[in-house]
Symmetry: C2
Subunit: 239 residues, 2 copies
DNA sequence: CGAGAAAATTTTTGATCAAGTTTGGGGCAT
DNA sequence: ATGCCCCAAACTTGATCAAAAATTTTCTCG
């Protein structure tokens, strides 16, 4: 169906800007989003031909997207030719915590120096929407908005290399975040966004760094807890 | 004197079971090595069809390798469909210095806890070969051995995520390292490998962390200097 | 009449797809 | 449980189409 007729335009958006986004890029973004927000569960196998069918794309673009995501740690070679969404173990979580604590406070520091009032307001809007999502128990919206808050902060920091590293870390624990929410709901998910916003407004880089560090630690602690529960119950089924 | 410095030989036996390494993997490793050791200069364009001809591989595997390396920051999209070896600017070097200082000392700390005497001896052997390469002015051997020293240290640390991040940082400044050597030779390239080895032997994680941090800072300072010289002379030609 | 710029043509390169080949693994028989 | 066979999925290639760069041509103006 998707390949029939004029190959000029993909069927989704008929009258958009002629900004030809390549198929491999579209597939990459689609898959990345799905992984980041837990639409693909940890351990789930990802096949090339499966994606070819689902997405209606050719084999080469799908292949490229998978390689890219594998490179970023969002997918994992499972030995022989097989690719899955990785299931992080305790040691991985340890590493993720260390890396996030080492890098994200610096991004907050840099963001503090560069943020304009308009940008801070935009961040606050996201955080307000986030509170709504939490009170409604809307897990999908929570995950999207939480990532958007941090992602926007990184973009303000204007540090492309650090940002790309940190976002690749998000891809590694993203699938686990939905598991966390499934386990403990959205109610018990405290964050330090208010403190971060206050520090940005006060132009206090150190306070922002501390707020983000606390936010990271809190979040990752919960991932660690749920992961260890899963590991215990998983051992009874597996092996 | 490459004989001493190349313990890397993969398969000494031509008709052994070939372990079927996929072409896309081979292309990836080949290209990665070339970038890491400066065989491709910063700014140099990298074309798919060029690689297809040079490497004698199909189009799809080459494409996959390029996507992977782009993802790791070893290559860069240059606007419209074109890919080049990136030329880092001052801001990039700043970020690289920060990230390396934030992550590599921790790898040294972890390596100290895990290193066996045999592993430390292997590291020392590499460092000895490195000294030989320096005294001979063999830039290629120097670059390979220097990377091998650090890479082996990371592997001892047994932290796959941190290691993959740090190695992707190496890919970003690798091309510049050869420029550094071309500018100032191998004589004035001090390192802290002796101090690192001593700390490993003394099982002193903090000392190892400090030694590696100093090594990183020294190395990156030189990259920064050469980069700034190049930026000045480049401005006169450009525009 | 010549020089420079804009337009058209050629050429090079990137993007996508579909077909052929190989391989790992699950299922079935022993 | 073990070993063989078949199939589905991965790997690879080459062809085809589109887009951008390079080159040539042509037109206009001084």
């Amino acid at each position: 169906m998707a390949g029939v007729g004029t190959p000029r335009q993909l069927d989704a958006y008929p009258d958009e800007i002629p900004q030809r986004i390549p198929v491999h890029q579209q597939v990459y973004e689609d898959l990345r989003t799905r992984i980041l927000f837990g639409e693909l569960a940890p351990g789930q196998p990802v096949t090339i031909q499966g994606l070819v069918e689902i997405l209606g794309a050719g084999m080469t673009p799908v292949r490229e997207a998978i390689r890219r995501l594998t490179s970023e740690g969002a997918l994992e070679f499972q030995g022989n030719r097989r690719v899955t969404v990785p299931t992080p173990d305790t040691a991985c979580i340890e590493e993720l915590i260390f890396a996030r604590k080492a890098l994200e406070p610096e991004l907050a520091r840099r963001a503090t120096k560069k943020a304009t009032p308009a940008e801070i307001n935009a961040l606050e809007e996201i955080d307000t929407a986030l509170d709504v999502a939490i009170s409604l128990g809307d897990v999908g919206a929570y995950l999207h908005l939480n990532f958007e808050f941090h992602s926007k902060l990184y973009r303000i920091a204007d540090a492309p290399i650090l940002t790309s590293i940190v976002e690749s870390l998000w891809l590694r624990f993203g699938p686990s975040l939905r598991v966390v929410c499934g386990r403990m709901g959205t109610q018990n998910l405290p964050d330090k966004h208010k403190e971060t916003l206050a520090a940005l407004r006060a132009n206090d880089g150190e306070a922002a760094a501390i707020a983000i560090r606390d936010d990271v630690v809190q979040g990752m602690e919960q991932v660690r807890e749920v992961l260890m529960e899963n590991a215990q119950s998983g051992e009874m089924i597996d092996t």
